[in-house]
């Protein structure tokens, strides 16, 4: 790479006619950071500072938070989130790998399965797991009937059940992040290695895997962070002692114990950030932002250094022969696992029973009709789409510059900025929701969809940024410079070169932002007031009539998503043939 002045390297230029304004990458961090400072930092600090000040400075709440009871909950939280994220990565990676290399048609089907899992309502999903894994559930029932076991296995209301439920929530995130990265890597590394007569696994391990490290780290960190904040699932599927910190914080907030809830949240945040730092150190070159500020492609070596030796040779010897079929097998199993809850939710939604029950009897479209004929449900649906749409726009408009800035800036500020941007995902949603509620209430700005969308953006923005950052780490700025040298203006370069190459990542980021908002409950509950009721709030409320309507709504949303998705695919295909004709 030719020596360039640091200011040009990776910089973004915005030009109007001949006057060119050179924006340093660090400046790109400003909009997102400013947004988060106003709509997240300030409101949340106002909640959290109560943990330190009560008629003067005090650490009383922190002393209490370190009592064994709460210390244990903290340890559990980290342990559970780490194992769920680890499992999601272990099985998600081979799946994404198969998806990245599959024929387009197969890939579309697999993406649909992953998205459907992502889309199903968390509450309906929890019931599905209970009906599947309970002592009278589908699994135990089948095994008992086949005389494989003689007494029911305990599969739920313990660590096993909790992990099954959590991995199901986290794995789609991991898979989609990895896929977005793998698409930018392509097949070349593998072909190159194969031409050097490396075994299939050896080729993968040495040439392909290191290239996907940024996706691995981003996927793992996201899963870990989201996992550490999960609470409904922990409450419903976990057993005694599987209580998560976010459950505890929600409980404390409900009793207006701001000070203690704040102390717990601060400690949780600190612990998770330290854990992420350790992960970053461990993965070295795959870190989300690398030390010293050298951009990805300019770094001389961006491979995790593994000492080749007996261990790697042994692993190679074992995995080389079975590598070709191992991944597809894992991918198929993962697809089955991801669709399992739907196999329960769908029959319940068609069942005659007037309360959510398993096994369903009879068949009826009643619950779908209940939804379609209810103004409340329809209104909530419209609200949800509008809120999620606005949230997605905000997340992309602010997230793309932020991701570019994080990937290319050399500033020392990047680390702190990234940590700050991750923190909304770690601090339990209820703290942010409350902070924003108090903040917006001052301006009489609650009870409308814009308030909820701004609140949802606080988490959607970091999600979107992280996904795009992972893909950008594999993106060569030299391509942009090439475009510029061929006379493309800076904006033109971004729209015609940068964005299309990042299309997969941008689409994934948009999906994440949209889905985050679509599924978020607390923001609508607190900030939405009585007017901006969303679909997830409506579902949560209607749990109380025990009717299967929520399962029908869940299925309808999945159906709708599939239609939109297939529609987009078809447009894309027409698009491609169109541009071919152009050529």
């Amino acid at each position: 790479m030719s020596a360039q002045s640091p200011s040009v390297k990776g910089g973004i230029e915005l030009g109007v006619a001949r006057r060119r304004l050179r924006l340093s990458p660090t400046a790109l961090l400003v909009p997102a950071t400013a947004f988060l400072l106003v709509f997240y930092g300030w409101p949340v600090v106002n909640v959290l500072r109560q943990s330190l000040f009560d008629h003067g400075f005090t650490v009383r709440e922190y002393t209490r938070a370190f009592e064994p009871a709460y210390r244990n909950i903290l340890l559990h939280t980290v342990e559970i989130a780490l194992s769920a994220a680890g499992l999601s990565l272990l099985f998600g990676y081979p799946t994404a790998y198969v998806m990245a290399r599959a024929r387009p048609r197969v890939r579309v089907v697999m993406i649909l399965v992953v998205s459907a899992a992502y889309l199903s309502n968390p509450l309906a999903r929890n019931y599905a797991w209970i009906f599947m894994l309970g002592n009278r559930g589908v699994v135990n029932d089948t095994l008992l009937r086949l005389h494989i076991i003689h007494r029911p296995l305990i599969l739920i209301f313990n660590r096993t059940g909790l992990l099954v439920g959590m991995v199901h929530i986290l794995m789609p995130t991991v898979i989609l992040v990895l896929l977005a990265t793998m698409v930018t890597v392509g097949e070349e590394p593998l072909r190159a290695a194969a031409s050097l007569a490396a075994g299939p696994f050896t080729a993968f391990r040495r040439a392909y895997f290191p290239q996907t490290m940024s996706g691995v780290v981003a996927g793992f960190v996201l899963a870990f962070v989201i996992g550490s904040a999960i609470f409904t699932t922990a409450a419903m599927l976990g057993g005694q002692g599987e209580f998560m910190m976010s459950n505890e914080i929600v409980d404390q907030v409900q009793e207006l114990n701001w000070a203690f809830a704040g102390a717990l949240a601060v400690i949780l945040l600190a612990v998770i950030l330290v854990a992420i730092l350790v992960v970053q150190r461990f993965f070295g070159a795959g870190a989300l932002v690398d030390r010293g500020g050298v951009t990805a492609r300019n770094a001389p070596v961006r491979v995790v250094r593994v000492h080749e030796g007996r261990v790697t040779a042994a692993v190679d010897a074992v995995l080389n022969p079975c590598w070709r079929w191992l991944n597809p097998v894992i991918a198929v199993l993962v697809m089955v696992y991801l669709s399992l809850p739907l196999l329960i939710i769908l029959p319940i939604s068609l069942g005659r029973s007037n309360f959510i029950s398993w096994p369903p009897s009879g068949i009826t479209s009643k619950w779908y009709r209940t939804y379609a004929s209810s103004p409340e449900w329809l209104h909530a649906t419209a609200n949800s789409f509008e809120i999620a749409g606005i949230t997605t726009l905000v997340a992309l408009i602010l997230g793309l510059p932020a991701a570019l800035g994080l990937a290319r800036s050399r500033s020392r500020l990047r680390g702190p900025v990234l940590a700050f941007m991750l923190s909304p995902l770690i601090i339990p949603n209820i703290i942010a929701a409350i902070g924003i509620l108090f903040f917006f209430s001052k301006f009489n700005f609650t009870g409308n969809i814009y308030a909820v969308a701004l609140g949802d953006s606080v988490e959607a923005l970091p999600l979107a940024t992280l996904v795009m950052l992972a893909a950008l780490r594999n993106f060569d700025p030299a391509i942009e410079r090439a475009a510029a040298s061929l006379g493309a203006g800076p904006l033109r370069t971004i729209f015609k070169v940068t964005l299309p190459i990042l299309a997969a990542a941008t689409a994934t980021a948009a999906l994440f932002a949209f889905m985050h908002s679509f599924n978020s409950l607390l923001m609508a509950m607190f900030v939405g007031g009585i007017n901006a009721t969303t679909l997830s709030k409506q579902m949560w409320q209607s749990l109380d009539d025990y009717e299967p309507t929520i399962t029908a709504v869940s299925m309808m949303m999945i159906g709708l998503a599939l239609i939109v998705f297939l529609g987009l695919r078809m447009l894309q295909r027409r698009d491609r043939t169109g541009s071919l004709k152009d050529a």
Binding site: G241, F243, V253, Q254, E255, L378, F438, S441, E547, D582
Partner: protein, 366 residues
């Protein structure tokens, strides 16, 4: 390339139009109340939503609107944090809410609730009817209910042994199956500690002050067979499906499930009985209408109608004049049921709730 751009533009426009059409076709939020032609303003209520609030609309809000020509706007979901944010903002958007007594006392400490003006909005006769025990300075007792055992009638059918005491609830040999019990924090609002002590042989009259350690040791006994919940609705669904054979739940919530055909039965014997509160925000925007509404909802007739729909009992005993024996046999405030249940000591809980949660969390990790 130009094609691609054009197509994505077109797609964007199509999606925008579709969304707009969708939004407008679904229309504005349906008003829960029939707007009155000669409306005299409004009052805004926030509750817990769902079937209970639907019943409130029918029996409290609609008759109130008719009588006073005041619209009642309503929504959910009420939480203490919401109330505090609204009060602190200086211009809350709602006036009246219903809260459990635990929240009443916590909110009282934060000065969230307005004084109830009994002198101005209640007639002499109404005050004679309404017992002092439900007339709090900043709230009025609204509905009286029990927290007790609910069991699955497929697993313990009539004719065979059926659980009817807390000793039975703790006896997993005689009555096998999992038990749905509230987590430590949630148990402050529902019940658990008292139930454990009753199962351990403490007489109902000697429950308070609660022996926290004894209660926790008894709960530890049950813990291996317990499924902790923080919403009684999920416990009721699990019990209806046999994932749990018994749970602790409020009587009115069980009734909703039974009406839908769930194989459940509620046990009054040993239930912990209490009532929730109507409260008005300190700086409520429609204070006069709010006071009127709360006074109206303390009257016997609407309370009786509400009880018929929900089996949540009236706090105004005069309501029994409007109820037949068939309804009262399921009400917490029925004299016969009063004899086999016990009253929750909310003042003890207001003072010791946090102590309980800390001790319980330390012992059970919940």
């Amino acid at each position: 390339m130009s094609h691609r751009v054009r197509h994505s533009c077109a797609l964007g426009v199509v999606i925008a139009i579709a969304l707009a059409a969708f939004a407008s076709s679904s229309g504005a939020r349906p008003s829960a109340q029939a707007a009155s032609a000669k409306s005299r303003g409004k009052v805004v209520f926030v509750g817990t939503g769902g079937t209970t609030q639907d019943a409130m609309v029918q029996t409290f809000f609609q008759p109130f609107s008719k009588k006073y020509h005041v619209n009642v706007d309503q929504g959910s979901i009420m939480t203490l944090a919401l109330a505090q944010a609204q009060v602190q903002s200086g211009h809350p958007y709602f006036d009246v809410a219903t809260v459990p007594q635990a929240d009443y006392y916590a909110g009282l400490q934060q000065h969230l609730w307005a004084k109830i003006n009994y002198k101005k909005y209640y007639s002499k006769q109404e005050l004679r009817q309404l017992p002092r025990s439900v007339r709090f300075s900043n709230g009025v007792g609204n509905i009286s209910y029990g927290n007790g055992i609910v069991f699955n009638t497929d697993q313990f059918p009539a004719g065979g042994p059926q659980p009817d005491t807390w000793v039975d609830f703790w006896n997993t040999n005689k009555f096998p199956g999992k038990r749905g019990i509230p987590g430590c924090a949630y148990s402050v609002k529902t019940s658990l500690a008292e139930d454990a002590l009753l199962a351990d042989g403490v007489p109902p009259d000697n429950l308070y002050p609660l022996n926290i350690n004894r209660a926790i040791n008894k709960i530890k006994e049950l813990a291996p067979n317990a499924i902790f919940y923080n919403s009684s609705d999920s416990a009721i669904t699990l019990t209806a499906n046999g994932n749990e054979s018994m749970a602790i739940a409020p009587n009115g919530r069980v009734k909703v499930a039974v009406d839908k055909g769930a194989p459940l039965q509620y046990v009054w014997q040993g239930s912990r009985v209490t009532f929730d509160m109507w409260v008005i925000l300190r700086n409520a925007p429609h204070m006069v209408n709010a006071q009127k509404l709360v006074a109206f909802m303390s009257q016997p007739k609407p309370q009786a109608d509400f009880a018929k729909l929900t089996t949540y009992g009236p706090t105004n005993p005069a309501a029994f004049n409007y109820l037949d024996a068939n309804t009262t046999k399921d009400l917490a405030s029925d004299p016969k049921i009063k004899r086999e249940t016990f009253q929750k000591d909310n003042l003890w809980w207001a003072a010791h709730g946090q102590e309980w949660v800390d001790a319980c969390t330390a012992a059970l990790g919940h």
